[in-house]
Symmetry: C2
Subunit: 442 residues, 2 copies
């Protein structure tokens, strides 16, 4: 006998966890498609060379890698960005650009497991490749908005209380450029990262000591990072601060156009806010940067992030491939929705249960069920004519809402009993118009 167990850091999904995940993915897919984004898929296994091409030491250490049957060095993908870069380079002549794709799939990282961290998890990425137009940055913002707005898993519940924080990498670049300290970017970012931990004064000192800038420069950088206010106010301050520096002005203009257009499209002004402190991937992104926070659960971090990059696939192709995109944190979002009571605890994909009551009437039950099905009503039928009590206990455990009971009496009369398991309400209706009645009822 072998003990049935999963590997550390890996998990099985029981129906009650899988149903909300599948629902969420379905809704996200609809949003992507409504903007003309196409699904793609790539293999779980890639040549190690491809995966290590641009990887850091950390991703390299976390890689699941081995030799396959043909002696090839292979690995499991650790994100969907490297496969996208490889894909676009490989199929360049078969694709039409701008190429808009979404990709929902598993990735693997052999990292140390901790609370909420898994070695296998699902990623959900969306990107527009092949254009530098700010219109694509705006579209990504609209998609993030729609994703959060439309993934209401309970019918009358949706995320309206969220903020998409936007920044533009060019603003920091411009600021450092204007001060002639662009060469110190990496060191400065490392120090700035400690702001929440060690405080303003210590950061200022350290910037002077470690990065070798003047204290006036350090203060200006701090003033910049701590800027806050309305979008209009922020834009004014930034314009003033960066005036005369071409790249900085470009960054400010990009943000101005983005928030303006997003508001014109009808998104509430308070939902897309300029925040120069968000520093996600400042070493990777080159333009717009996004992070998305839930007002009610700010501490869980960003649930949808992304940004613009200059060149996706420079290690695979000479084609310059600028792009912009985002990544929806499915698992984080599901945890948040659970915490906010936005997920119904159900373990059945249909609302209706029908016990198998009269043994000799199987054909009649099936005929009735088929009629309901052709009207679009799904029903779970119990496969054994056990005692009715046992079958109802099963129904209760599974969490059905409605039970349809047809006993010999009802067959004779051409009726059925329907019973709401939550309210206890029950009623006898004709089998002929059962479909309509049940639809009304649900």
């Amino acid at each position: 006998m072998i003990t049935p167990k999963t590997l550390k850091g890996f998990r099985d999904f029981l129906p009650e966890f899988m149903l909300p995940r599948e629902n969420l993915i379905e809704r996200a897919t609809k949003v992507f498609r409504s903007y003309g984004f196409c699904p793609i898929d790539t293999p779980a296994l890639e040549y190690l060379e491809i995966l290590q091409g641009k990887g850091s030491e950390e991703t390299d250490r976390q890689l699941y890698k081995f030799e396959d049957h043909g002696g090839r060095k292979v690995g499991l993908r650790f994100d969907l960005t490297v496969p996208l870069a490889r894909y676009v380079a490989q199929h360049f002549s078969e694709l039409t650009f701008p190429f808009k794709r979404y990709h929902i799939g598993k990735v693997w990282r052999g990292e140390n497991t901790q609370a909420g961290r898994y070695r296998e998890f699902m990623q959900c990425d969306f990107d527009t490749i092949g254009t530098k137009s700010i219109v694509s940055d705006i579209e990504i913002t609209l998609i993030i908005n729609d994703l959060l707005e439309r993934i209401d898993l309970k019918s009358d519940n949706s995320f309206t209380r969220f903020k998409i924080r936007v920044n533009n990498r060019k603003i920091l670049t411009g600021l450092l450029d204007k001060n002639n300290i662009s060469d110190k970017t990496t060191n400065l970012l490392r120090v700035l990262d400690k702001l929440n931990k060690i405080g303003k004064q210590a950061v200022s000192n350290e910037m002077v000591e470690v990065a070798g800038i003047t204290s006036r420069q350090a203060d200006q950088i701090l003033e910049f990072v701590l800027l806050s206010g309305s979008n209009d106010g922020m834009l004014l301050s930034l314009q003033k601060m960066l005036s005369g520096n071409l790249i900085g002005e470009e960054g400010v203009a990009g943000l101005a156009e983005l928030v303006g257009a997003v508001n014109a499209a009808g998104i509430p002004a308070e939902r897309v806010v300029i925040d120069v402190s968000i520093a996600r991937g400042l070493d990777y992104y080159t333009g717009t940067i996004y992070e998305t926070f839930l007002d009610d659960l700010p501490n869980i971090g960003s649930v949808c992030s992304g940004g613009r990059y200059d060149n996706l696939a420079s290690i695979y192709t000479k084609q310059e491939l600028p792009g912009v995109g985002g990544s929806l944190g499915l698992d984080r979002l599901i945890s948040a929705m659970e915490e906010l009571g936005m997920i119904e605890k159900i373990s059945t994909p249909v609302n209706i249960f029908m016990p198998y009551f009269v043994e000799g009437r199987l054909g009649d039950y099936l005929t009735f069920l088929r009629k309901l099905k052709l009207s679009g009503i799904g029903v779970e039928f119990y496969p054994e004519s056990k005692k009715i009590g046992q079958q109802l206990k099963y129904a209760d455990k599974r969490g059905f809402r409605l039970v349809i009971i047809i006993g010999e009496d009802e067959f004779q009369k051409g009726t059925c009993q329907i019973k709401d398991l939550r309210t206890g309400y029950s009623s006898e209706i004709s089998q002929v118009d059962a479909a309509d009645k049940i639809k009304e009822f649900l």
Copy 2:
């Protein structure tokens, strides 16, 4: 520069292949759910011990296996049945039985690549675990029927021309048992498998020589395997042939109840046919066996197969877990649909394209697009205000159906031009009721 390439036997999915696959999966999911089947998921990586537990030499040779960072021997799952068995044994106390699940996921086999064979492919399994009731066998038959009926990817096209061939393992068992040659089952099956290749006489001779049965017995087995006719006729012949043998009679009764109930449920009688020659997994299945063939493409083989088994997880648990299920051959079905012209060649998930015509009007375009979106109409908007000819060329390449054009004139008048790219029909409509007009049009 690294050459962007995929591993041999692995493939990328371009949008035009991915869209039908995603559509097919969505429709299959709806069918499973309408019968109360729940989604589950399991890890791609499992302990090697789990995967090898019941595997044959062949699966063992094809396994992608390696040592992970913690020195554990692991492998990529090669099917969804072993993970199901492990899952049900491991979560036995958390699940409610009968447990009905579907599982759509990738599996990996390092087999020799040949036409149409891949080392990574998608499986789509559905099973009911924990009941011996024939009602579950009937339900699986209905699901197979619905899967084939409802996956019409073109609106007015569906598979009505298909046959679900059913057999019952107990019938052959009964026949051999009645002849006191059950101990020769494996050898006999091996010889019978050559029937199409070497013909009736050679098979008869070989059965006598290799399996050591009498020629009278050989003739009876051949007569049995070649039986054909209507379901009623078949049932009569089988009853006669197996009369007095308990297990054989059980098999015939099971088939009789299955075809009777399925017809009662409203499935045309000619669609579910008894065929004692189908021998899928006769060494694995213990009751009902299914295979499904398309009338128009019989040679591609079964597109949906399965059967009943006595005990799913005997190597992981002492719990007896009988079950019945099937597996939809997604890739085979998509190939078939392509061959039958049932798949529209499109590479866009929305029908409508809108060029970016007047540069200064971005906000107005976005406002209009948002209004359409809130009415449920998805539109792809071109992100660059390039020459209109270039944008329309893109639209044409991508295969959109409708183009909405708004130039400065139209903005002034509050109208838009809509143009059907297939028929050339065009019309100028008011922006205010554009949503309704476009819905009518599509």
